[in-house]
């Protein structure tokens, strides 16, 4: 009886791993799992956390200014205006993570479109598009971002667009390479021989086959986007106070570095952990989705 019971439990798990070898490979990648855990916690804390603590990110309390962490009710201490750091960190996380995800989504859309068209049509169009991508990559991103950020009205939306415009090229290159090789595959010709139109072949036949590298590129892109938002905000061109972001929290911390180091350490740690986690996830996905390993 007990044997039959264990036997009935065992197969589903094996079947799951067997059906999705990439999933089981990902689950065996320790740093990626750790990264995924941290990102999930960060996201959860940012979007749910602010309701769970008794402080608001913008409420000032002059009597409690520059409280040290782990003293009293302010767990991570307070800033020079007496605002609760934990509340600010969580609220800033919303902004920073949202900017990261949104900028990545936008740059994936742009990158996929450009890469798809360039890889599919090759020839003059492909060459022109890819040389444009190369030209964009030649700009030092930080200066480009700062130069443009100085000219436009800083807002969450404009920062998202700005970061996306500076980071879609990597995706475009990945997609172009994939499509270039995929369109030479027999099934592309077979689809064409059945009367499929160009766009149908591009989006339905070729693009789904290139999802794995796009996912990897996008994951790494999130890390870059969060970092980019942080340094634009740190330099004062990004998200404007009083709206907190991890970058402008760091900026505020500058003048108090010697007597209130936690002001810099807390958001700095948040950025580091998040960016590292996304990089780990990206690496894990790359290893897991690499078709060369098996399949």
């Amino acid at each position: 009886m007990s044997i039959a019971h264990t036997a009935s439990l065992a197969p589903p798990r094996r079947a799951l791993a067997g059906r999705f070898p990439a999933l089981s490979r990902f689950l065996r990648h320790r740093p990626a799992l750790l990264g995924l855990g941290i990102v999930l916690i960060m996201t959860l804390a940012s979007f749910v956390g602010p309701w769970l603590i008794p402080f608001n990110a913008t409420d000032t309390d002059i009597r409690a200014r520059l409280t040290e962490p782990f003293v009293g009710s302010h767990v991570l201490g307070t800033d020079p205006l007496g605002r609760d750091i934990l509340a600010r960190l969580m609220y800033a996380g919303r902004i920073s993570l949202s900017v990261g995800f949104a900028a990545t989504a936008l740059s994936v859309v742009v990158g996929v479109l450009v890469g798809l068209v360039a890889g599919f049509y090759r020839g003059a169009i492909g060459a022109a598009l890819m040389r444009f991508v190369d030209a964009m990559l030649c700009f030092p991103t930080i200066f480009l971002l700062l130069a443009v950020a100085a000219l436009i009205e800083p807002s969450v939306a404009s920062i998202v667009v700005l970061i996306a415009l500076a980071s879609w090229m990597e995706v475009a290159r990945v997609v172009e390479g994939q499509i270039r090789s995929l369109r030479e595959r027999d099934f592309a010709l077979a689809a064409e021989s059945l009367g499929a139109s160009d766009s149908r072949i591009m989006f339905r036949e070729l693009l789904p086959n290139a999802v794995a590298p796009i996912v990897v590129a996008a994951t790494l892109n999130i890390a870059h986007a969060i970092l980019a938002e942080s340094y634009i905000s740190f330099l004062g061109f990004g998200i404007q106070p009083p709206t907190p972001s991890w970058g402008n929290m760091l900026e505020n911390a500058q003048s108090y570095l010697t007597n209130a180091p936690w002001l810099a350490i807390v958001p700095g740690l948040a950025i580091t952990l998040t960016v590292t986690s996304f990089n780990f996830i990206g690496d894990g996905l790359r290893d897991a989705l690499d078709a060369k390993l098996d399949r």
């Binding site: 049509y121 020839g123 169009i125 595959r185 027999d186 099934f187 010709l189 077979a190 689809a191 064409e192 021989s193 059945l194 009367g195 499929a196 139109s197 160009d198 149908r200 072949i201 339905r204 036949e205 789904p208 086959n209 999802v211």
Partner: protein, 366 residues
């Protein structure tokens, strides 16, 4: 599939957009011909110069007939068919001239050469379909078999998802796949090679084309499956009366399935005859060589005689020898006659064409 940079070309071809109506009565004897190819030439522009892959190929296929296209690798047999459906690279890299008239089941006729993409997309899969050699790679790995069959139905017949799924199951049943409803949800990697080829066939016949081009459909399969696929193709053909062009270099399958045979060498037709006629009385030295080089169990008694092979290789398509392209490899080569000019296709017998200046003399010789 390709970008048409020159919209002017499309405008100039505007009159070709609408199918030419051909009442069957008027066309007379021609009406039976599903495909009429006249003087088809396909040339590729490469770094090494222009390569004429197909030269002056003319042939026709009747309804319900199977024409086998036989020849070595690079003889131009696949390019002929890809060229007909406009599946060769776009204009500056590849030029196609001549004419090819394809008649659909509804009696509409389409000119295939120089026709804009928009019309060709309707023809491909709808009026003429192709089955490729490699069933392993011709199916998209990320879509289910059902989705891929339905796609063609939805493009050409505008079926609803539900109707297309029902029809797809019907088609799988028709190509001999058991439990079709369940198979529709399978991905290509879950099927065997033979099954995948059956799925390819189902996709090709989904819209009841009037012409089916089978480009070495059995080459990648093992022998027992080959026989099954051939049988299936014959069965489908007798059911639907579609015309079929069967491309192969396997003479065994030719004898099995073809009604007529066209032998190609270096881009030209060298011989064309009824299948029985070709196997019993091959006229061109190349066809003779091909038939001769098929291994036989009985003729080479005690295996004393080694297997016959045609000496040499197919000439470089960019640098053909003068005169008869087969000349340098031919046992009956006569300097001054064979290398003087490209021989014309002569009627050796009614319906038996041969491109060799010496065919009457070499009749009995091997």
């Amino acid at each position: 599939m390709r970008w048409t940079p020159n919209w002017i070309v499309e405008v100039m071809n505007m009159n070709l957009y609408e199918p030419i109506h051909t009442p069957a009565v008027q066309a007379g004897a021609q009406a039976e011909n599903v495909l009429d190819v006249r003087e088809l030439n396909v040339a590729f522009r490469t770094a090494a110069g222009t390569v004429h892959a197909v030269r002056d190929v003319s042939f026709s296929v009747r309804r319900g007939e199977t024409l086998a296209l036989v020849g070595e690798t690079s003889s131009g047999k696949s390019v002929t068919c890809l060229g007909l459906l406009g599946l060769t690279p776009p204009a500056p890299y590849c030029s196609i001239t001549g004419s090819a008239r394809l008649v659909a089941r509804d009696g509409n006729a389409y000119e295939l050469v120089g026709t804009p993409e928009r019309v060709m997309r309707r023809v491909r899969g709808g009026v003429a379909s192709v089955i490729f050699q490699e069933p392993m790679t011709s199916l998209n790995p990320v879509h289910t078999v059902g989705a891929q069959i339905c796609e063609s139905l939805r493009i050409h017949l505008g079926m609803s998802a539900r109707a297309a799924t029902d029809r797809a199951a019907e088609l799988l049943n028709q190509v001999g796949i058991s439990d079709p409803k369940r198979r529709l949800t399978n991905y290509p990697h879950e099927l065997s090679g033979g099954m995948r080829q059956r799925v390819m066939i189902a996709m090709a016949i989904a819209c009841e084309p009037s012409l089916l081009i089978a480009d070495e459909p059995t080459t990648a399969l093992d022998v027992t499956i080959q026989a099954q696929i051939l049988e299936l193709l014959e069965k489908l053909q007798s059911e639907t009366r579609m015309a079929m062009i069967y491309i192969t270099h396997n003479l065994g399958t030719v004898a099995e399935i073809a009604d007529r045979v066209m032998v190609m060498y270096a881009g030209r037709i060298v011989e064309q005859a009824d299948v029985v006629e070709l196997f019993t009385q091959p006229r061109h030295p190349y066809s003779r060589g091909l038939i001769h080089s098929v291994p036989r169990l009985h003729s080479n008694r005690a295996r004393k005689t080694p297997l016959f092979a045609i000496p040499g290789n197919v000439p470089d398509p960019a640098a053909h020898p003068p005169g008869c392209t087969f000349g340098p490899r031919c046992g009956h080569f006569e300097p001054g006659r064979c290398d003087a000019a490209v021989p014309v296709l002569e009627n050796a017998q009614p319906g038996h064409l041969v491109r060799c200046v010496r065919w009457p003399e070499i009749e009995g010789a091997v």
